[in-house]
């Protein structure tokens, strides 16, 4: 589905990603974990073209997407739920969702299909339907996160990139959101790349995981193995006292 090979990304002179390679199979949930500044967000932004890679190759379903602009990449079927949600605060919930389908309107897809997808988002997140007229900025953090995910869904992506969906949310809300992600994969076969600091929750949900450290992949493997790995345990999961 997605194959990232030896990607290097720079911010000015600072190399934020150093020869990073990773891959995602169809319908897989993969977690990308690591500390602050490890390059997790940069990885997502590089995949979707916001901070293009200086070297390396990114193939999406066999097609190179490395040199494309973000809107072309969205059109090919990669959507991002950005860090800190980034919903359009002065716009209503409904307008936010419609913006998610921005390129589909232009592609000449009927309003009906888009409307149906909005209904689907509402069945996934009933709370959004109750608030469809409300301005996004006036909702709680959890609701905004739901909206950000819903907005990404509206583009009908084949690959969903999530950047710290649990950030700043109450544990119960995090649980709810992770449950929805699981349901999403079950119902639509969505492929998901999940960036998280909440490593335990992410690895529980994911099939496989990668550990990033200062721009390099230092560990990779099946999620249940990573959870048991001593290094991961001490660095990211918190040591148990015994």
């Amino acid at each position: 589905m997605l194959r990232v090979e030896n990607v290097n990304t720079y911010y000015g002179k600072v190399r934020a990603l150093k020869d990073v390679s990773l891959h995602l199979g169809e319908g897989e949930i993969v977690a990308l974990i690591g500390a602050n500044g490890a390059g997790k967000t940069t990885m997502l932004n590089t995949i979707c073209g916001v901070t293009p890679a200086a070297a390396g190759e990114i193939l999406f379903r066999g097609e190179p997407v490395c040199a494309l602009l973000p809107d072309r990449i969205v059109k090919l079927g990669i959507s991002q739920v950005p860090e800190g949600r980034q919903v359009f605060k002065p716009l209503s919930v409904e307008d936010n969702l419609e913006l998610g389908a921005y390129l589909r309107y232009r592609g000449g897809e009927g309003k009906k299909a888009i409307h149906n997808d909005m209904k689907q988002v509402f069945t996934l997140f009933p709370r959004l339907e109750e608030r469809r007229e409300q301005l996004a900025g006036t909702m709680s953090g959890g609701e905004q996160q739901m909206l950000a995910i819903g907005r990404a869904m509206m583009a009908k992506p084949k690959l969903l990139l999530l950047d710290e969906p649990s950030m700043g949310l109450a544990p119960l809300v995090v649980q709810e959101i992770f449950r929805v992600l699981e349901r999403l994969r079950g119902e639509t076969g969505m492929t998901i790349l999940l960036v998280e600091q909440n490593a335990k929750a992410a690895l529980k949900l994911a099939d496989r995981g990668y550990v990033l450290e200062t721009g390099k992949v230092v560990l990779e493997g099946p999620a249940d193995e990573l959870i048991e790995n001593a290094v991961v345990k001490s660095a990211y999961l918190g040591k148990s006292k015994n």
């Binding site: 979707c48 916001v50 602009l69 973000p70 809107d71 969205v74 059109k75 959507s79 991002q80 950005p82 980034q86 919903v87 359009f88 605060k89 002065p90 716009l91 307008d95 419609e98 913006l99 998610g100 921005y102 390129l103 309107y105 232009r106 907005r151 990404a152 583009a155």
Partner: protein
């Protein structure tokens, strides 16, 4: 949408009936300027209010429209109806070309760049004397005419200008409620988020910049053909700032806000003329008060003010 249309029709009717109420020729002339300024303020509002991109050089586009129309008709003998779209097309292309490098900048830097652009255009008007007549201006510009009807009086010109202004209002209503309008607001709120939902922010910003310049150019052409005389003084930096003030005072990101701002800032100096030397003090004080108590602009200010007063009376009522 139906309600919006009714509102627009009421507004159009109001505009058509106003000249009947005021017989005096002078007032009509001022109201004509309200029309031109409304077009300009709407153009700037598309850029500033919706897309969140500032421009301190819009008077330049206004002037370019006026001068291109003037030069094409006076020096080259074009039909004014041809000169107008030709000028608009040229200005649109120029704005598109300038927009690509300029709109990569943000905030203060964008303000600086557009400021420079406006000043350069102003200098060109002043210095290319054989083309524009320089500081002494360009005169003898033909009036517009349809068949045997020539727009040569204030009253006729009023209807001509307001016809275009109303079309502009209708157009901006359409943009505001469209997918493009949503995308512009998205860019205004968070450019990164707009880009990851698939909005080509860079291109869209340039497009709206060019569109805004085209509307300004049309207003400039109308100005030239109505006044029959133009000089660089009307297109300087001060006027760019005045346009910006109109949009902010009227209400950013609203359809009728720019009209209210344009009407107020055009009429106020005329009303205050009676106060002699104190007019500028009152003018300034009024603007300061408005920004303080109606930060959302006139268009949102009155309902807001009423709510606040009601709250004060009600005491415990929560917002």
């Amino acid at each position: 949408m139906k309600r919006e249309l009714l509102k627009f029709l009421a507004f159009a009717l109001f505009v058509c009936l106003v000249p009947l109420a005021c017989r005096g020729g002078y007032l009509i002339n001022v109201l004509l300027f309200v029309g031109i300024n409304t077009m300009l303020a709407i153009a700037l509002n598309l850029l500033l209010g919706y897309a969140g991109q500032i421009s301190l050089g819009h008077a330049g586009f206004f002037g370019l429209g006026a001068y291109l129309s003037g030069i094409l008709t006076v020096t080259y003998g074009w039909n004014p109806w041809l000169a107008m779209p030709a000028a608009a097309a040229l200005v649109g292309c120029l704005a598109g070309l300038l927009g690509f490098p300029i709109l990569k900048l943000r905030g203060h830097y964008l303000a600086m760049a557009t400021l420079g652009m406006g000043i350069i255009i102003y200098i060109v008007f002043n210095e290319t004397i054989e083309l524009t007549g320089g500081p002494s201006g360009l005169s003898g510009i033909a009036n517009l005419s349809i068949g045997s009807l020539t727009f040569d009086s204030d009253c006729k010109n009023y209807y001509l200008v307001w016809f275009f202004a109303l079309v502009t209002v209708l157009f901006s209503l359409n943009v505001a409620n469209s997918r493009i309008g949503r995308a512009l607001k998205a860019i205004n709120d968070s450019e990164v988020a707009a880009r990851v939902v698939g909005v080509n922010a860079r291109l869209l910003k340039v497009q709206i910049f060019a569109l805004s310049a085209i509307i300004c150019s049309l207003a400039g052409s109308l100005y030239a053909h109505c006044m029959t005389f133009i000089s660089p003084a009307s297109f300087g930096f001060n006027f760019s700032v005045e346009l910006l003030t109109m949009v902010v005072i009227g209400g950013l990101g609203s359809v009728y806000g720019p009209f209210l701002g344009a009407a107020l800032l055009t009429l106020l100096p005329e009303i205050l003329r009676g106060a002699n030397d104190y007019d500028i003090v009152i003018y300034g004080a009024l603007l300061v008060l408005m920004v303080m108590f109606m930060p959302g602009g006139l268009v949102r200010g009155f309902p807001e003010l009423r709510r606040r007063l009601a709250k004060r009376k009600g005491g415990v009522e929560h917002a």
